[in-house]
């Protein structure tokens, strides 16, 4: 089952990253999985070893959504999102901010769900505050491996410089 539909990550304009993924399910189900805390807690977990310890969801305009993850070694990661627009089951727009920022400033996330032939495409557009931030997220996010080697650094920089 894994890898049935690839995750597409591309840049758009100067400041956006677009992430797209197809799911073999109708839109209401995908939307439900995205909006119900008891369901979110079962899948929005990232790599193995993490659990979601706080999952408060209010995507409505001005509402606060709070996610906190904890790893089995005690490490925690949290983020808060403030709702901008909520159009079930089509669109969720919010401003995201990580507790420990890994990019400067805020990012505006627009999540859209479109259904076709019983399959649903979830498209996430993240708009960063600057092009430099976007480029860093994009270039590094596209590659795999964790090692912070000079080779990797060169690769990242070549990507940035090729712009």
């Amino acid at each position: 089952m894994s890898g049935k539909y690839p995750l597409q990550v591309t840049g758009n304009g100067d400041r956006e990253i677009v992430m797209s993924r197809v799911f073999d399910a109708p839109r209401e189900l995908v939307f439900e999985a995205w909006t119900k805390p008891e369901l979110l807690k079962r899948w929005l977990l990232g790599p193995p070893g993490w659990e979601m310890v706080i999952c408060d969801v209010d995507y409505s305009e001005g509402g606060e959504t709070r996610f906190v993850w904890r790893k089995d070694d005690g490490q925690e990661m949290g983020m808060t999102m403030i709702g901008v627009e909520f159009v079930p089951p089509e669109r969720i727009v919010c401003i995201e901010r990580f507790d420990v920022p890994w990019y400067p400033g805020e990012a505006r996330t627009t999540l859209t769900f479109t259904e076709r032939d019983g399959k649903t495409t979830a498209r996430t557009v993240v708009r960063y505050e600057s092009q430099a931030t976007r480029d860093m997220v994009l270039k590094t996010g596209m590659t795999t491996g964790v090692a912070a080697s000079y080779d990797r650094l060169e690769e990242i920089l070549e990507g940035v410089l090729a712009k």
Binding site: L29, G46, V100
Partner: protein, 128 residues
């Protein structure tokens, strides 16, 4: 934690400038003096020195102590911090979405089972 995020801010700010990115790219090949770094750019040595100070403050480069040459070299650690975080982004979503695939399959089955349960009494009532 605050120190970590402050350093990341500095790393990103330092790399937001094309000249500084070019300097870092040059230093990825090997160490160089201010004079060598100034050469490819139409820039004075003091201007280059200013850029080097920003990179040094962000911890991206260090400068040798040899009085006159003071070669600059790249420090990989802060970039490592940044890229380790950023690299997690894609892996985070890939892993999560695979789990969502499985959950959706389960939800589809439940929904079918629920629909079947609802249908039975309706058929019976129609027969009556």
């Amino acid at each position: 934690m605050t120190r970590h995020s402050e350093q990341l801010d500095q790393v990103f700010a330092a790399l937001s400038d094309p000249t500084r990115r070019a300097i870092v790219a040059r230093l990825a090949i090997g160490e160089a003096t201010v004079m060598e770094l100034a050469e490819p750019f139409a820039m004075s040595q003091p201007a280059i020195s200013k850029h080097l100070k920003v990179l040094e403050r962000a911890g991206l480069i260090s400068r040798g102590r040899v009085a006159q040459r003071r070669p600059c070299r790249l420090e990989a650690a802060p970039m490592g911090d940044a890229s380790e975080w950023l690299d997690g982004y894609r892996r985070f979503w890939e892993a999560s979405y695979e789990r969502l695939d499985a959950l959706l399959e389960e939800m589809k089955l439940e929904r079918r089972a629920g629909a079947a349960r609802k249908e039975k009494p309706r058929k019976r009532s129609r027969r009556r």
